[in-house]
């Protein structure tokens, strides 16, 4: 069996008695690109929220490289090597693209370090190469708030790349993108998945087909099916709850 980077076991969270995620087991291997699909309210975003520390689970364990994450604070989880992209692009709109990327550089994240931080040529080079990779090489000086919706999505992925996480959690990375931008994003994700694991939540089946190694289907907080895209698409229960209509 390949090395597991993420082991989620028996994970449950309930909000006022409503179980948004209910006893889910979820394993991600190293270098894997996993897609999580499911109808609205299936618990996909909540699952990612728990892995990255935004929501505290009611019970269950989340092990990342054998370290338990559920007791850690968000910034500690980020420093441990988990990167999260949110459903609505969350970039710092009043800062430039360059500053957005620079802030995400994973050093000097304490008060004094950041006060006396100087941008070395190494960091400058890394910022430029990431900006180029996310198709924003010419927009470094632009305020992030002025970018198009799709460009903000890319910028947020770029911010994660600056962090160089071992595990990337992407919530609907192509929402609101044109077909052309979707293709570019698929190329981007395939390129960056080398050397790290990625979990993607997505509704667009054509896009999932372009990128996924393996697909997990959630339904009403429970794990419904798991396998390759073809296996999942031919699964009776999946067709019934999700793909059928």
């Amino acid at each position: 069996m390949a090395q597991m980077i993420l082991e989620v076991e028996d994970l449950t969270v309930s909000f006022d008695g409503f179980k948004a995620v209910d006893g889910v087991n979820f394993y991600v291997e190293q270098d894997e690109l996993r897609c999580v699909i499911g109808p609205n309210g299936a618990g996909k975003t909540t699952l990612l929220d728990m892995i990255c520390g935004k929501t505290k689970p009611t019970s269950g364990t989340i092990k990342f490289n054998r370290r338990e994450l559920s007791e850690m604070l968000e910034y500690q989880i980020t420093r441990a090597g988990v990167g999260r992209k949110f459903q609505n692009p969350s970039v710092y709109e009043d800062l430039t693209v360059l500053e957005n990327l620079e802030i995400s550089y994973p050093r000097k994240r304490n008060v004094l370090g950041s006060l006396f931080f100087r941008r070395s040529s190494e960091i400058q080079g890394k910022i430029e190469s990431v900006a180029h990779q996310i198709y924003l090489g010419d927009s470094l000086g632009m305020k992030a708030g002025l970018l198009s919706h799709g460009q903000k999505q890319w910028l947020e992925i770029g911010m994660l790349l600056m962090q160089d996480p071992e595990l990337l959690l992407l919530d609907e990375p192509v929402a609101g993108m044109s077909p052309r931008e979707r293709e570019q994003t698929a190329v981007l994700l395939n390129a960056i998945s080398k050397g790290r694991s990625i979990v993607v939540i997505e509704h667009d089946m054509a896009f999932v087909r372009m990128i996924a190694h393996k697909v997990t289907v959630l339904h009403q907080g429970k794990l419904l099916a798991e396998g390759t895209m073809d296996q999942v698409q031919s699964d009776e229960r999946v067709i019934e709850v999700y793909l059928g209509h």
Binding site: S104, R119, M142
Partner: protein, 377 residues
């Protein structure tokens, strides 16, 4: 730093009038404060200007925490007051131990409280409280002014921010703090001078504070310190920490997922603002000759916010102008029609919030932008 900016960023930086004004504004402000005002104003008016500038320290701190950190503190009077009272304690003890001073010393001696501040004698406090003792020494007083308010601000605000209490709730807590401190000072008359405050000092380390030369010297010390504080603020805002502050102000939740602990950064900048306020408070007390609960409570704390708002809460230099302008207006009003002052400042605040959300600095920026646009057409 500018030379490593990519080509795309350079024209954007050049075009931003706010950035231009911040650059040249510093020089203009220095010339105004160091040359124009001392030549133009008589000693009485110059001391008034020094008084507004002392309050300007709080406004500069508010630009950092409110304008860039998104933390609206309605309790900067607390830190101003701490600095002011600690300095007053030192000055009072110096006055009390000086037999030539008329600072109630003869009366103290008569009642057997030699070397005691006069108000303690009147309040039948017979022994100097232990926490007054260290303020005999300037070597304790000045570090205490620089450290105690900043450290208390850090500990208090970190505890609050860690619990993720922010926004309007934080403002209310700070408002309550300033009310509590003022009430405590008034209540403990024997130890703090009560509602009268601590006053009637003559000398600061032997320097006679009442002659014109000393007033000029103190004015220049105030201005140079204030410019230094603006310089420190500029350095902070231009650093990576400054960018992180803006990020926290706009999307605190997201910053956690960039690997930062926002509570630590907010507490740090809050402590810096507290330090600035305490310095302002100490300078105020030396020049105005008074530490009073009326400078600690809610009203002065809110007035400091108005200084920052009028000057422009995104402009450190604007905060200095805001303090000078609103302070002068206050004096003008209280010399002529004192009863309308509160209405005026209330109206001014509403006006600025509604029509000039970025204050005078923002207005200037807008005018310049308009001009640029017309020229480009």
């Amino acid at each position: 730093m500018e030379n490593v900016l990519p080509a795309a960023a350079a024209p954007a930086a050049k075009k931003s009038p706010l950035a231009l004004m911040e650059r040249w504004g510093w020089l203009i402000l220095a010339v105004l404060l160091l040359v124009v005002l001392p030549l133009w104003l008589d000693v009485f008016r110059l001391t008034l200007a020094a008084k507004y500038l002392s309050l300007g320290f709080c406004a500069v701190g508010l630009v950092l925490i409110w304008g860039y950190g998104g933390i609206l503190s309605l309790g900067q009077g607390v830190f101003f007051g701490l600095g002011s009272y600690m300095m007053a304690m030192f000055l009072k003890l110096e006055a009390a131990s000086n037999p030539d001073s008329s600072s109630g010393t003869a009366l103290s001696a008569f009642f057997g409280g030699e070397g005691m501040p006069d108000f303690m004698v009147w309040n039948s406090v017979e022994v100097l409280p232990w926490w007054w003792e260290p303020f005999h020494h300037v070597g304790f007083t000045i570090p205490a002014i620089l450290l105690i308010p900043a450290l208390s601000a850090f500990v208090f605000s970190y505890a609050v921010f860690r619990k993720r209490v922010g926004g309007v709730y934080f403002s209310i807590i700070t408002l309550a703090l300033s009310a509590i401190l003022a009430i405590m000072i008034i209540g403990q008359q024997g130890y703090t001078g009560g509602v009268n405050g601590i006053n009637d000092f003559r000398t600061f380390m032997g320097l006679d504070l009442n002659n014109d030369k000393a007033k000029h010297v103190m004015y220049f010390i105030t201005v140079v310190t204030l410019l230094g504080v603006v310089g420190i603020g500029t350095f902070i805002l231009r650093s990576r920490l400054g960018k992180i502050l803006v990020a926290i102000r706009d999307r605190e939740d997201r910053v956690r997922f960039s690997g930062y602990d926002p509570a630590m950064f907010k507490a740090f900048i809050y402590a810096v603002a507290a330090l600035f306020s305490a310095i302002g408070g100490a300078l105020f007390t030396i020049q105005v000759g008074l530490a009073s609960p009326s400078l600690v409570g809610i009203v002065p704390s809110v007035e400091m916010v108005i200084y920052a708002a009028v000057g422009g809460r995104l402009s450190l230099i604007g905060a200095v102008y805001g303090s000078l302008i609103v302070g002068s207006a206050k004096t003008l009003f209280s010399e002529n029609f004192v009863e309308y002052w509160m209405y005026f400042i209330g109206g001014l605040f509403v006006f600025v919030v509604m029509f000039l959300p970025e204050g005078l600095a923002g207005l200037l920026a807008r005018l310049r932008e308009g001009k640029n646009r017309r020229e480009n057409v």
